[in-house]
Symmetry: C2
Subunit: 500 residues, 2 copies
């Protein structure tokens, strides 16, 4: 068995290296690659992904996992060894249940669909994208069928991003959350808006960059194992556990974009850099799920970065960098401005109080599309109706409505709910952290982020993908994913800001 | 056969993609990678190289090449098809003749030897490196044995860099060249030195970068298929034929480093970007050899970039960028300064008249080491004696002598002669070009480099690796590689500069 385990580990390491290599090809494409190389890069990524798929679904690895799974049965189910085999087996089973023909067809359609979606959005013409959306829904339904039996057609999709999570769980959570969020937003709407026009002045990029670097260096981002670049859409990516990079987008006419974007991506990076190094080059060397990942980015962006304590510390420095823009703005005014609540059209620009409603709308539509109760052709109308219902406004066109997100164009149904779940988990973790570190607010005010980072490392990061997301949240907070802490957080924060 | 050819092409494309991916992992390591990721990156590169080796030596590809070689026999031997099969077969045969154990052992020793060499050079202590040099010589002798029978033990090594070239050919060329170069240098040494102290003033990096970008943009470097970054040692690398990148090193206390380095690397990049796109993702989509590659970098760096005509055009712009440093320096003074001849210790800093002597010394030592007539322990003494003989000076220590180059530490015996051969080929091509474009000097003076680039593309670049280097040079210039044009070029240039 020793020998089989060693062989398995070497195969898993090879798979991890191929995954890291594919990630580098993608990162380079988005950060460095000259435009004229796009076609070749597509071929290179396809070649690596094909080899990766073949290695991930080989009979050799399947047989080893079969044999080694037997040996874990008399063992502590929470041991690293048992969990490694379990996660590897889960990945293997998912990969092998899907036919090679399907994988190839799905790759083909989703590649084309992404460029069609770009055109469709640019022209704000849904009819261009509609036939591709129909195809992608059909393909994702086929995908779900590979995993029958299930309770709900959406379950296998969700499981790709949130291992072990069921559609019914998410629906229950969102159903409890929705009325409370809607109520809060209504209450805020009756109050005078906060002044935020100074956020829209001219903010030179270099000073924005410098400020971001200072903040995330204080957060504890390790530049010996990371770097920051510019890209059209900000993202975080890792090539193993010792090289986790972030990208940032700058908007010289809106200060928050790069500032909170940098903190957000840094939160993702701190997570991956905090995973136990012993899991490097194994399937455990990754985040537990997209929601847990998002809980980390949101915690640093919002619970820390949009807190009054944070700005007490950092605002003087920001004023120093932007004296003409912020010279007459107080720290308190700035704090309120970056927390202004206002129903808006675009998810990625939404504030903390309205963000989850954007997600709920998408989840409900995805479920209806997958169930077949909503047809692709009716998606724009359904979108606008729900938008009016939840946020009180209607998109003026489809580019700012149903076509705004890239996710559906790559067939990523199942992805959206993780954003809202991440918000909920961030608040659950923060409440638990406040019990362990009662003066956490004072620590933030002193920019002593090490206590927070260490707590997150010990309680969350270090485990990597060893535990499923619900297990991990239960283990740390004593409860599965639940909306109450997040609502308590929102209520407290916005009652204060808006004198509700 | 159609089907077999299609299968072969798809396997070769996969191999090309893996090669491009490995190159990206290396480029990123040298340009972007945070230091703390070195170990993981080593694993990633090893994994990709292992897969690449397995795919390159598979029975499947061997059988296809065997069958398809038969079909080329009734065919035009210079057709793309016949040449593709020939080059692919040559690569396959070379790769499969070497045992897997050897490949693994050589990789292990040369990886360690490189870091040992770094230490050895840093401490200028040859004894640290000596045992590794001995091992590497032994391994390269073993490597040669895989290719028996040969005329000379050095032949298979040379063939890795110069397909089809023999040790005796190189020796004959160098034997004809050496006395002429020595004679020229002696004549120059008797003349007053040219003034060049102004090259050693403070030259800010940004203006150096800007000048370099302007020059290579004029050369025709296509930024839609390339980019420029900084690295410790300048290099050029490509990921397919549509993405060829260069790197530059800046020395703010010596202007020529980045200036000529940028032109040099651009010359390499223009070559790869000029290869017929139909050869992309095939073994023909590469330079013909290292010498032909070097002929391109040297042509742009020296024949163009160190010409009087070039500086007639560009010097006013350079003065504009560096008014305090060059305000009192005339174009003619500058031209002479960047062409100053002076025997010096370090190859990479050597001028055009002395450079080849550095190479000849290395070739003679490599041959003696491989033959066994020189022992590794006696290398420093042999180096210094030859140095005195050819260049009239003796290195004060081994760091500036036998330990200066990285090549031996990775076992790269056979590589050095390509540098000098490249110089010779650059002059042969230039003479031929002067016949086709009689006003080429005027074109340079007008910065109309398109005529030069187009000539090189049509006559050299477009063929990629279709022809062996000697075939290609013969085809273009009517003669194999020969030293006369280079000596005519040196004589004419330096007789003028030094009034010989």
């Amino acid at each position: 068995m020793e020998e089989k385990l060693a062989k398995l580990k070497s195969l898993l390491a090879e798979i991890a290296d191929l995954g890291a290599t594919s990630a580098l090809l993608n990162w380079d494409q988005l950060v460095n690659m000259p435009a004229g190389a796009a076609e070749d890069r597509g071929e290179q990524i396809a070649t690596i992904e094909q080899i990766l798929h073949a290695k991930s679904t080989s009979d050799e690895i399947g047989n080893l996992l079969e044999d080694l799974t037997q040996t874990t049965k008399q063992m502590d189910a929470d041991s690293d060894y048992a969990r490694l085999i379990k996660v590897a087996k889960h990945n293997y089973d998912k990969a092998t249940k899907v036919s090679a023909e399907f994988v190839s067809e799905f790759a083909r359609v989703s590649t084309v669909a992404q460029s069609v979606w770009e055109k469709s959005r640019a022209e704000s013409d849904f009819s261009i994208f509609q036939p591709y959306l129909e195809q992608l829904i059909g393909l994702r339904q086929q995908y779900a069928d590979f995993f029958k039996p299930w309770d709900h057609v959406y379950d296998p999709l969700l499981d790709d991003y949130e291992p072990g999570m069921k559609t019914a769980d998410v629906q229950a959570i969102f159903n409890a959350l929705r009325p409370k969020q809607v109520e809060l937003i209504k209450a805020i709407a009756e109050k005078p808006q906060v002044e935020k026009s100074f956020l829209f002045l001219e903010y030179p990029e270099k000073a924005q960059l410098d400020f971001g670097v200072e903040v995330i260096s204080k957060f504890g981002y390790d530049w010996n194992h990371g770097r920051q670049d510019k890209s059209v859409h900000p993202f975080t990516t890792g090539f193993g556990l010792n090289d986790v990079r972030i990208t940032t987008r700058f908007n010289t006419k809106f200060l928050p974009t790069a500032m909170f974007g940098t903190m957000h991506e840094c939160g993702h990076a701190l997570y991956e850099l905090g995973i136990a190094k012993k899991y490097n080059r194994t399937p455990l060397g990754a985040g537990a799920s997209m929601a847990v990942h998002e809980s980390q980015s949101r915690l640093w962006e919002n619970l820390v970065g949009r807190s009054r304590a944070f700005w007490k510390h950092f605002y003087p420095r920001l004023q120093e960098l932007f004296p003409s823009q912020l010279g007459n703005v107080t720290a308190e005014m700035f704090y309120k401005a970056v927390n202004a609540v206002e129903p808006s059209l675009i998810r990625v620009e939404a504030d903390e109080a309205t963000y989850n409603l954007h997600i709920m709308l998408r989840l409900e539509m995805e479920i209806a599309l997958m169930e077949g109760s909503l047809k692709a052709k009716d998606a724009p109308e359904a979108w606008n109706a729900k938008f009016k219902d939840y946020l009180g406004i209607v998109p003026p066109d489809n580019a700012q409505g149903v076509l705004q997100d890239v996710h559906w164009s790559f067939g990523g149904f199942g992805y959206f709910p993780t954003y809202a779940l991440g918000n909920l988990v961030s608040a659950q973790l923060w409440e638990r952290m406040e019990q362990d570190i009662p003066d956490v607010e004072a620590q933030v005010e002193n920019a002593n982020f090490a206590v927070i980072l260490n707590w997150l490392r010990e309680n969350v990061h270090v485990y990597g993908a060893k535990f499923e997301p619900q297990e991990l949240v239960q283990k740390v907070t004593g409860s599965k994913i639940t909306p109450e802490p997040f609502m308590r957080y929102l209520d407290k924060k916005f009652k204060d800001i808006y004198s509700l």
